[in-house]
């Protein structure tokens, strides 16, 4: 009899693990009041970089987007760029030209030649947009969510199209930490569940028994209360939101002898330790994921 019970338990576990995930499950819609078109000024000056507080200096002013690029913003870009010929459809993906990197044949380095590369995949069920052959549209409810399932080339291409750039890792870090102290998180020394969207942070967008974590609208953690869910104001010292959690953010550095591109900030899919300002992640530039997005920087 005990064996039957054990078999039933194991079979149930297997069946539960094979359950399909409804990627289009209804998502709550909230207006955060934070404008995704706004920019924050990061003044020139010294700051403490990295886990071990190395003195660093950025000797120029620059601006960074207050939030990550949203799905709506990226759809506008795709629709314009597809029409003007900057981008094209190549099978199951949207591609754009990248001029290539210098190849040094360092161990493990993969050559990035001058050619077309994927910006976003088409027909990926995890993407938050649709394409009818002519026009890109946002899946309703995701307009103010961060753009995801976008490759490094796709992020680089977006920023470049508007004469912006991806922030360097150093620029990103200063924007997240500020220059006054060595805080590990953009808002301070400790992290609470309602500071950011991270793994099992119990935000209104996650359901760990089925689809798991989902993105939250950009600027969601701004001290507002949404349907009873109280957030803490988690802006960085320069007023940037989502510099920890929600989605990893591509940065712009191309390092000598590496094809990898670096990401910062942690995401909805990582534990709180990965939301610390200095934590890095990286992947090949064609990589895309429902947990990776970006924001741009520009000269003032």
């Amino acid at each position: 009899m005990k064996r039957i019970y054990l078999s039933i338990i194991l079979l149930s576990a297997v069946l539960v693990s094979c359950a399909s995930v409804d990627l289009n499950a209804p998502i709550p819609s909230f207006d955060t009041g934070v404008d995704p078109d706004s920019w924050a000024l990061i003044p020139a000056g010294p700051f403490l970089e990295g886990q071990h507080d190395h003195p660093a200096l950025i000797d120029y002013d620059y601006q960074m987007m207050v939030t990550g690029v949203t799905v709506a913003q990226y759809m506008d870009f795709l629709n314009i760029a597809l029409v003007d010929g900057s981008l094209k459809i190549d099978g199951e993906q949207i591609v754009g030209f990248y001029p290539g990197d210098q190849f040094r044949a360092v161990k493990h380095e993969i050559e990035i030649t001058a050619t077309d590369y994927i910006f976003v995949p088409l027909n990926d069920p995890a993407s938050r947009f649709t394409f009818d052959g002519f026009t890109f549209s946002v899946i309703p409810g995701y307009e103010n969510h961060p753009m995801t399932n976008v490759s490094w080339f796709g992020a680089w291409g977006y920023c470049g199209y508007y004469a912006f750039s991806l922030p360097s890792e150093l620029e990103w870090e200063k924007a997240a930490r500020g220059s006054a102290d060595n805080r590990p998180f953009p808002w301070g020394d400790e992290i609470a569940r309602n500071n950011a969207n991270f793994y099992t942070s119990r935000d209104p967008f996650e359901e760990m028994s089925s689809f798991g974590s989902r993105t939250s609208p950009v600027g969601f953690y701004n001290g507002n209360t949404y349907d009873g869910y109280v957030t803490l104001d988690s802006a960085s010292p320069y007023g940037l939101y989502d510099m920890a959690g929600n989605v990893w953010q591509w940065t712009g550095d191309v390092y000598e002898g590496q094809h990898y591109r670096y990401m910062r900030g942690g995401s909805k899919d990582t534990y709180d330790m990965d939301l610390r300002i200095w934590v890095r992640n990286n992947a090949t530039p064609t990589y895309y994921s429902p947990g990776v997005g970006f924001r741009c920087a520009r000269n003032p």
């Binding site: 576990a13 693990s17 161990k107 400790e190 992640n281 990286n282 990589y287 994921s289």
Partner: protein, 488 residues
């Protein structure tokens, strides 16, 4: 009271019991700070309740001290076993045990005190003192194991020996002990630079940095080789316990010696101009070591089957299988070694073969999951082998022996198998649809490891209660040496 303290701190089985209890206690307390218990909010409660002082930037340093303190207790257990199984001068045996016992206890208590309760540098000094004592114990152990002393020559031709009688098994123990001491320096040298410009890091976090410093490489080499040597040593210990001998022993011991030496040369080579071919040397060294372990597995399982079918005229396959599985405490260590290949060795080879499709494409954090899981499983498998041997050591019999042994095997393999699937999940499931699978795997891991800890806790409570009995089991264990209990 004095008798009980004498048992705990002077007898082999008492010393092993104390070290297992210390590891169990540390695992139970600090295991609550991560994984599902952190998700459930238990971590926050524990931190508040125990008044821990956890600075975010010091997480990596804390973990390094945690790993070291657990590893030192495991090294102490192996040392107790070696000094009880192998012949050596009484002075060395006593000196090694005193040094390593004081050393690992200082390391555990003051290391964890420093790491988790504010940075009191006196505690750090005591932690380093503990590590240093363990190092000196290792040096003394190497001297004690010197195999070219004719007193220790092997007279029995059933065992691996040279024509003159040099005991090749003792040479294997000696080689493992000597290289362990030397490889400890590999970590100690960079460690001495901490605070002088060299910064704390976890190896899995810098795996993709193309230009690593000599000190970085040294640390990476250190952690790999120390774990490999702990694994080699437990293989030799189990072989002695199960009285490994015969033709397989004669082949296995030279292979083990060769493997140990070459493996170490490969790892040490990472900080020399040999670095480009160091991995190749490591593969060359690992192969004979693993072959030697395979021979031990074949020997033991063959022996178990032969013993189990004794008296049966023409045993069939089912009877042979029953014979093989009838004693989980002797079957288990070998099975865990075989199982290790599915969870770590084969997995590592598979990843290496498909490097361009996996690690060149996957994000670094996926690679980190694989690497971290890989060595956690390897460490935990070594721990389960120790627990299985301990079960035999304390004379578990009958149903209790079956329940204890099979619980350890099944629960740990359930957890390790789930960890392995978790590491590999990106090969067969997308990020967007993985959550139900992740939930199931996490549940299985937690059930496996959680219940395993419950089994361990029950045994520890039983041993604790036994200490209150005037004529408890402890009184029978006071004078026993493991060499007296080697399998026939």
């Amino acid at each position: 009271m004095a008798k009980r303290l004498g048992f705990l701190f002077r007898s082999t089985k008492g010393l092993i019991l104390v070290a297992i209890a210390m590891i169990g206690l540390e695992t139970a307390i600090f295991g609550m700070l991560s994984g599902p218990l952190a998700e459930l909010g238990v971590r926050d409660f524990v931190v508040r309740f125990l008044k821990m002082d956890l600075v975010q930037a010091e997480r990596e340093g804390r973990i390094i001290i945690l790993y070291h303190s657990i590893a030192m207790a495991v090294v102490a257990i192996e040392t107790y076993m070696i000094t009880s199984l192998l012949k050596m001068k009484e002075f060395y045996k006593l000196a090694v045990r005193v040094l390593i016992t004081v050393g690992y206890i200082l390391t555990m208590i003051f290391g964890m005190g420093f790491a988790y309760w504010g940075h009191n540098w006196i505690l750090h000094g005591l932690y380093i003192t503990g590590l240093s004592l363990i190092f000196f114990a290792g040096v003394l152990l190497v001297i004690a194991l010197w195999p070219w002393n004719k007193e220790y020559y092997q007279p029995d031709k059933a065992y691996s020996r040279t024509k003159k009688g040099l005991d090749m098994e003792r040479v294997a123990f000696f080689a493992a002990a000597l290289t362990t001491v030397l490889s400890a320096l590999f970590g100690a040298v960079p460690g001495s630079y901490f605070g002088n410009g060299f910064e704390t890091f976890l190896a899995e976090n810098i795996i993709r940095v193309p230009e690593k410093s000599v000190l970085d490489l040294s640390i990476i080499g250190h952690l790999h080789i120390m774990l490999a040597l702990i694994a080699i040593m437990i293989t030799l210990i189990v072989g002695r316990w199960l009285n490994f001998k015969g033709i397989l022993h004669k082949i296995a011991m030279p292979l083990m010696i060769l493997g140990t030496v070459v493996l170490n040369l490969g790892v040490w080579g990472v900080v020399t101009p040999l670095e480009p071919i160091a991995h190749m040397i490591i593969y060359v060294g690992a192969t004979p070591s693993m072959l030697a372990a395979l021979m031990l597995v074949i020997f033991t399982w063959d022996k178990l089957i032969r013993e189990g079918i004794a008296g049966i005229q023409k045993p069939n396959g089912w009877q042979k299988l029953k014979a093989l599985l009838r004693d989980p405490l002797r079957f288990g260590p070998m099975w865990q070694m075989v199982f290790m290949n599915f969870t770590t060795s084969f997995l590592g080879i598979f990843m290496a073969v498909r490097l361009d499709e996996i690690f060149r494409v996957w994000p670094a954090h996926e690679e980190r999951i694989e690497l971290t899981g890989h060595w956690h499983v390897l460490s935990a498998i070594i721990a389960t082998i120790i627990l299985l041997y301990y079960g035999d050591m304390i004379g578990l019999k009958g149903k209790l022996r079956q329940v204890y042994g099979w619980s350890i095997i099944i629960l740990s393999d359930l957890a390790f198998g789930s960890v392995t699937i978790f590491e590999m999940k990106r090969l067969f499931i997308t990020e967007a649809t993985q959550q139900p699978l992740v939930n199931t795997l996490m549940l299985l891991m937690d059930i496996g490891l959680g219940l395993l800890l419950v089994v361990l806790a029950m045994m520890m409570i039983w041993r604790l209660l036994d200490l209150f009995r005037k004529k408890g089991r402890w009184t029978e264990e006071v004078d026993h040496e493991l060499s007296e209990e080697v399998s026939k």
